[in-house]
């Protein structure tokens, strides 16, 4: 296994990187941490003649709070997010970051890279969808900000134009009544999840004011269901109401049968994970400390 030959570019700054992307168009690929791109290149997926290494660009890996929003530089590694005190205020974010593959991959892999790959089994597209994140994109025509729901358009496909790069992920900071959870079922640390669920919940006097439910690995892109969310809104959240909403959203999903499990198995697992993630988010809304972590086979 060996990548096909390519030309390597290491631009000095973001404008230089954009210029290279404008010049090479679809022949070019952006290298951040390389934890998705390098395996793909080793499998010789796609024709990649030019590799633009943005891994060393400065100022793109900060994690900071601006205007009630957690702003995460696209080059922040999963390890950095998992250890970030600022990110700790959004438990789903930390659970996703800390559970990606293993320590080796988390030390190199970046949130911007992981999101831009838009793998249907990837953790970031699912987790960030549940947190109503936005994606800041810079290209030759300037910068724009798109909601995560518009960023991922299909499996392995985003709204990025060939001269554009993700520079920042923005996640709204939750208020005191809001919390979240992200749980995946995995066969092994280094494996992609078999299925995953993100939940964000706003609770007032034990009544659900707002909820987002998202399923990962359950279709070409993250699965959401307005019907399932409506089932919970204005209701008390407990294992029964969560189970009913889980059944609704799972019915709207289409998990592909593959080496990780049959569709029947994945549906059952997704339903269980919705309840588990919902209960974790619920406990956190009530101020209880809940241990994070994925489920492993």
């Amino acid at each position: 296994m060996y990548p096909a030959p390519f030309r390597y570019h290491r631009p000095e700054d973001l404008p230089a990187a954009i210029k290279l992307l404008s010049r090479f168009g679809d022949d070019a690929k952006v290298l951040a941490g390389g934890q998705s791109l390098i395996p793909m290149m080793k499998l010789r997926m796609g024709d990649i003649a030019e590799v633009i290494d943005i891994g060393r660009l400065s100022g793109l890996s900060n994690i900071e709070v601006r205007e009630s929003t957690l702003c995460i530089g696209a080059l922040a590694t999963h390890a950095k997010i998992a250890a970030s005190e600022l990110a700790a205020g959004i438990p789903a974010l930390v659970e996703a970051a800390a559970g990606i593959a293993d320590k080796q991959v988390r030390s190199m892999g970046t949130i911007g890279g992981g999101l831009s790959v838009a793998d249907a089994s990837g953790d970031w597209p699912t987790c960030l969808r549940g947190l109503n994140a936005s994606v800041v994109i810079v290209g030759a025509a300037g910068s724009r900000k798109v909601p995560i729901s518009d960023f991922v358009v299909d499996a392995y496909a985003t709204c990025l134009k060939s001269d554009e790069i993700v520079t920042e992920i923005q996640v709204p900071l939750p208020d005191a009544n809001t919390s979240s959870a992200y749980v995946a079922f995995k066969r092994a640390a280094a494996a992609f999840p078999t299925c995953s669920v993100g939940v964000q919940l706003t609770l007032e006097n034990n009544i659900c004011q707002q909820v987002s439910l998202v399923l990962g690995c359950a279709g070409p892109t993250a699965v959401v269901s307005a019907e399932a969310e409506a089932q919970l809104q204005g209701k008390e959240i407990n294992s029964e109401t969560l189970r009913a909403a889980a059944q609704t959203i799972v019915a709207a999903s289409d998990p592909p049968p593959d080496a990780r499990g049959s569709a029947v198995f994945k549906r059952a697992m997704l339903e269980t994970l919705v309840v588990e993630a919902g209960e974790r988010a619920l406990a956190r809304c009530r101020g209880e400390a809940v241990n994070g972590g994925h489920r492993y086979a």
Partner: protein
Amino acid sequence: MPESVVVDVNVNGVAYQREIEPRLLLVEFLREEIGLTGTHIGCDTSYCGACTVTLNGRLVKSCTCLAVQADGGEVCTVEGLEQNGELHPLQEAFSEHHGLQCGYCTPGMLMASKSLLEENPSPSREEIRKGIAGNLCRCTGYVNIIKAIDAAAVKMQGV
């Protein structure tokens, strides 16, 4: 042929300069360009962790890192653990507790456990298991590997 690139990489304290193809992987650089064959290629798919080294202090799978990404950086491999003819306490503990069977995963296991102990000098058995989650032992000899890491942690704490 695409143009080659010149890289400078410090490996275990020794500076190396080589002209390479950009597609050369770090593990191939280590094994084939500078002859350090202690770092093993296992799965070559970033799954097994046999090729684990540190790059600028970060634990990485060198089969999933281009050598050009290490340009200007510092790499530590299993050959760098021994100092002045003395085995690293982890190496001693792996030997003493039979923390290896066929030995293929050992270089990666040693690098991952060194990184673990640097962050957490006295890990619980559970934390050790999590710390080496990115490293597979094809002989399934995990019990003694965990025992060895635990013993090394105790010994290193005592020094």
